[in-house]
């Protein structure tokens, strides 16, 4: 048995180890995902849509001839970019097609970057949706029809490298936005120099030691197993959409505003979703709209779904950071400055969130005690797959450089990097050292045997004659505390107590696998513990349906795990009052004279009149008692907890193979809402994190601009055989606002691992590798073993 975590406050439900509420439904294969509702035998009159995709990294369509394709047996409709229904649609971007809150077109986040056309004629990467979409009786027929469309392409020069794309001679991707590929400054991200605290020049002058480093993160992708799809029906004036997007009300808004249909005539249904990881946080949502237009014209339900190849449509930003750190001999950091260039690919989407917004947030909560901090960053368009949101957005790339600077500085000063971290990093609402950071690092160091295993770089003992071992770590502030979720607006929950004291819980959100559903049930059982019920007595409504569900709490930031439970805690008093109002007349008492505990009603004064609530409810009106609450997240600036990953690696100096032996993943959670689920996030995040560090990478043919590995044979995701032993450690040191004071943890589980592994590699071989993925040839090159 591994050690279980010890909660700060012992509760009956919240914070416990238990099976997921959807465990049996999912393990038995009975859970229905959107694609399962769209199979031919369930929707006999279904049509399949396939969209034309650019074979060139940069090209324009001069003209299209669909006459031959239209003749193909089984082709029902072809929609092209020249038709008014398409050409008249507004340009769009990811600044509103997804959202933590529901946004209108006018209130979208990145207004300056409305760079996406729905089915335009200007292709900007290989795979860009462009020109025409076919509806046919089968996907094979639709694909054949696409091949029979005659396209007159104007092939344009292309650019893949962001530095080359900044040159004045580079082909311009979005001439409509200006005469450069560098994204302009905007209201949300700010200026190119978007953080400038103190004076970094003075900080450098004050420093006894100055260190520079450069790190590069590549463009990994999310790779949810459940390929994105939608089935759209447009009957009379009403649109119904079944989809595996991670938000429902925002999707409804998207349809309504883009297709000019009233909100109440758009119904969006989302059952279980097979993984998100940021996949749906992208501007790549025009497919919803052309699928709807085809459904309208054909009068039949139309399905659009990505193939595995097409599922490579957005990912993490390829970012190169140059960083400078300066410090006193005693390890006091006097200055931190960064200059970054991010390859955003063909469309801006949320890339400036990664390049500017996230680093600015980190500055506020982690660099608050460093007097001089400067960030300069630029996003650059290139003819590659667009980057957008991926689990740990922006933080992963930043951590790769920060962890490098701290580790390097520590070596320079002969101080333990753990001490450098504790001496300098923390949020502005707490004095140094930050209690959360100290504890996260203490426990992590203990679990990895830091003191025993760490040695001078490259000077550890040889294992099996050719292998070298090393340890490393990296740390980061967590994010998604309650005060950071204010922009969501109100969080809605509806609790219905049935006469038999069972509960129907409508905590609206799309369940993407995060386990927020089980958190919700535990939160509900905790809040309604006076009913004497367990989680099994609570039915959680698993399908989001905008016709009947309250506004969904968008499944991002892993914040749904506690935001809805906070709302339930607030609702429980009202539930009790309503129940007492119902049963009080039966006991010849006023509601105020009574109370409920463990499922029994009694007189407060002397404990008398004790009767079971269920028995009383069956004597009263049999209407269920329903309480709907809305709660604004608390604004109290409680700061943030810290997270860290510690790694032990073994490097084969003959083959260059990196074997990660062990990872210790430490999260201060504030409050653990659901222990098994939280550990699953900590362990599970390492599949993405280690994949990004060692094996995952999109490879382009530089000569043609064609991506070469949009499949799972050549884009290598870790399997069970690749994963090391992982030690998940949950802590409750920091505390946020509200009843529980929790913080989202899922995203951050991927953030520190790449740097922890790179620092461990350095400890093992004594040579720095600062770019990921680290493939065997990278290690051999670092060791000077390549010819």
């Amino acid at each position: 048995m591994k050690p279980a975590f010890t909660p700060r406050v012992q509760r009956s439900h919240v914070g416990t180890y238990r099976a997921r509420i959807d465990g049996t439904e999912k393990a038995s294969g009975r859970a229905k995902y959107a694609g399962d509702l769209m199979v031919k035998c369930r929707v006999p009159d279904i049509l399949y849509a396939k969209v034309l995709r650019s074979p060139f990294p940069h090209a324009r369509i001069r003209s299209l001839d669909v006459s031959q394709a239209t003749q193909l047996s089984g082709v029902v409709d072809i929609l092209t970019f020249e038709e008014p229904a398409v050409a008249g649609l507004k340009s769009t971007n990811a600044g509103w097609t997804d959202g933590v809150d529901t946004l209108s077109y006018e209130r979208m986040m990145w207004r300056r970057f409305c760079d996406r056309r729905v089915l335009g004629s200007h292709a900007r990467w290989v795979g860009d949706e462009i020109g025409a979409v076919v509806a046919a009786e089968s996907e094979e027929i639709a694909e054949e029809a696409l091949r029979q469309i005659k396209v007159d392409w104007e092939v344009l020069p292309f650019v893949l490298d962001p530095v080359e794309a900044m040159a004045s001679s580079a082909p311009i991707l979005h001439p409509e936005l200006g005469d450069t590929n560098v994204l302009p400054e905007d209201a949300v991200g700010g200026a190119d120099v978007f953080v400038n605290k103190g004076d970094v020049t003075r900080g450098l002058a004050d420093a006894d030691v100055v260190l520079n480093a450069t790190t590069t993160y590549h463009n990994a992708t999310q790779n949810s197993l459940d390929n994105w799809c939608c089935l759209v029906e447009w009957c009379e004036d009403r649109i119904t959409v079944w989809s595996n997007s991670y938000e429902a009300h925002q999707t409804r808004m998207h349809f309504s505003e883009m297709l000019d249909v009233p909100l109440n005539n758009v119904r969006v249904v989302s059952p279980y979703v097979g993984g998100q990881f940021g996949r749906g946080d992208t501007g790549d949502q025009p497919f919803f709209l052309f699928t709807a237009l085809l459904a309208k014209r054909t009068g039949r339900p139309v399905l659009f779904r990505h193939s595995r190849r097409e599922s490579f449509h957005d990912g993490r930003q390829h970012v190169c950071y140059h960083g400078t750190i300066g410090a006193k001999h005693d390890g006091t950091i006097t200055t931190l400055s960064f200059n970054s260039i991010g390859n955003v690919g063909a469309y801006a989407d949320h890339s400036m969130f990664a390049i500017k917004f996230a680093p600015a947030e980190v500055t506020e909560v982690a660099f608050a005690h460093i007097p001089n901090v400067r960030f300069e960053g630029r996003g650059v368009y290139t003819n590659k797959m667009p980057a957008c949101m991926m689990r740990g957005v922006g933080n992963s790339q930043l951590n790769l450089i920060v962890g490098r600077l701290v580790d390097g500085l520590a070596e320079e000063l002969s101080i333990d990097p753990l001490d450098i971290a504790c001496k300098n990093f923390g949020h502005q609402w707490e004095e140094l050292p930050d209690k959360s950071l100290v504890e996260v690092l203490r426990i992590g160091a203990e679990r990895i045997s830091w003191k025993e295993k760490r040695h001078s770089p490259g000077l550890g003992p040889l294992v099996d004659g050719v292998k070298k071992r090393g340890v490393g770590f990296s740390f980061h502030p967590g994010w998604h505390a309650e005060w950071q979720e204010l922009r969501r607006g109100e969080v809605h929950v509806t609790i219905t107590v049935n006469p038999d004291c069972t509960v129907t819980l409508d905590a609206p959100t799309v369940e993407t696998g995060t386990g927020s559903n089980t958190c919700n049930v535990l939160g509900c059982a905790e809040a309604l513990s006076f009913l004497g019920i367990s989680g099994d007595d609570i039915h959680w409504v698993s399908t989001m349906d905008t016709d009947v569900s309250p506004q969904d709490c968008v499944q991002t930031d892993s914040a749904v795990s506690f935001l809805q439970s906070e709302a339930m805690a607030a609702a429980s008093k009202e539930v009790k009052v309503k129940l007492l109002e119902r049963v009080a007349p039966l006991l010849d008492a006023t509601p105020e004279e009574l109370d409920i505990d463990a499922g029994f009603v009694f007189r407060k004064a002397d404990g008398g009149c004790k009767q079971s609530l269920k028995g009383l409810l069956y004597q009263a009106s049999l209407d269920p008692v329903t309480v709907a609450v809305s709660r604004q997240p608390l604004a109290a600036r409680t700061g943030i907890p810290f997270i860290a990953t510690f790694a032990e690696v073994e490097i084969n100096t003959d083959t260059g193979q990196v074997q990660v032996l062990r990872l210790v993943v430490v999260n201060d959670c504030g409050t653990v809402m659901y222990a098994s689920g939280a550990e699953a996030q900590q362990i599970g995040g390492q599949c993405i994190a280690l994949g990004e560090t060692l094996t995952e990478e999109i490879i382009y043919d530089e000569r043609t601009g064609v991506p070469l590995n949009f499949n799972w044979i050549d884009y290598q995701i870790p399997t069970m055989a690749d994963m090391p032993e992982i030690d998940p450690v949950l802590l409750e040191v920091w505390r946020g606002g509200g009843e529980y004071g929790a913080c989202g943890l899922g995203e951050g589980t991927v953030t520190c691992t790449p740097r922890a592994v790179l620092n461990a590699i350095y400890n093992a071989i004594g040579v720095r590798i600062d770019s990921i993925p680290v493939k065997p040839e990278t290690v051999l090159e670092a060791l000077g073993k390549t010819s």
Binding site: G23, V39, G275, G513, E679, G684, T719, M720
Partner: protein, 176 residues
């Protein structure tokens, strides 16, 4: 030369032998020769526990048991399945110990055995076939047998525990 869509959609007469799915015998007609077993099971029979994330044999989510052996149903043509016994996750008994163990995993330190659940039927069927063959597998055998399956939520540690627990349930059942 690649066949045209027209030839790919040509309907051929199904073989004489029936296909036996979860114990029942079928002779589906109108099956184009390029239809995969995975597609047939989902689209024709509505057996949607079979998932098709990659359609190229890379992820294991479409795993079914064919004549007692775990196969990737996206790599088997429907016509190849005629005359064979196919077991999908829908054909497992409702109290199947592998299903129960995957659903129940919550042992501290290992996380759950599933999160989004999309890969789970494939893991369950691969594990079922392993345990039918090797009722008490070593951890290394579990890892080898399941290393063709991808879980992007990364629940590998929980899955190993679930298979171990299922193995214990089998041992307990055979002892009693």
């Amino acid at each position: 030369m690649a066949p045209s869509a027209t030839s790919r959609n040509t309907i051929i007469r199904p073989p004489e032998l029936p296909i036996i799915i979860n114990g029942r015998s079928y002779r589906p007609e109108c099956v184009p020769p390029t239809t995969t077993l995975a597609s047939l099971l989902r689209e024709h029979f509505g057996l949607t526990g079979v998932k098709i994330p990659c359609d190229q044999g890379a992820c294991g989510a479409c795993t079914v048991i064919m004549d007692g052996k775990a196969v990737l149903s996206c790599m088997v043509l429907a016509v190849e399945a005629y005359g064979h016994q196919i077991l999908t996750i829908e054909g497992l008994p409702s109290d199947d110990c592998v299903v129960e163990a995957f659903a129940a995993q919550s042992e501290p330190g290992y996380g759950t055995a599933l999160q989004c659940g999309f890969c789970t039927p494939g893991f369950v069927m691969t594990a079922r076939a392993l345990l039918d063959r090797v009722p008490s597998p070593a951890v290394s055998e579990i890892k080898e047998a399941l290393s063709g399956n991808i879980c992007r939520c990364g629940c590998y540690a929980g899955i190993v525990q679930a298979v171990r627990h299922a193995s214990e349930l089998i041992a307990k059942a055979s002892a009693s």
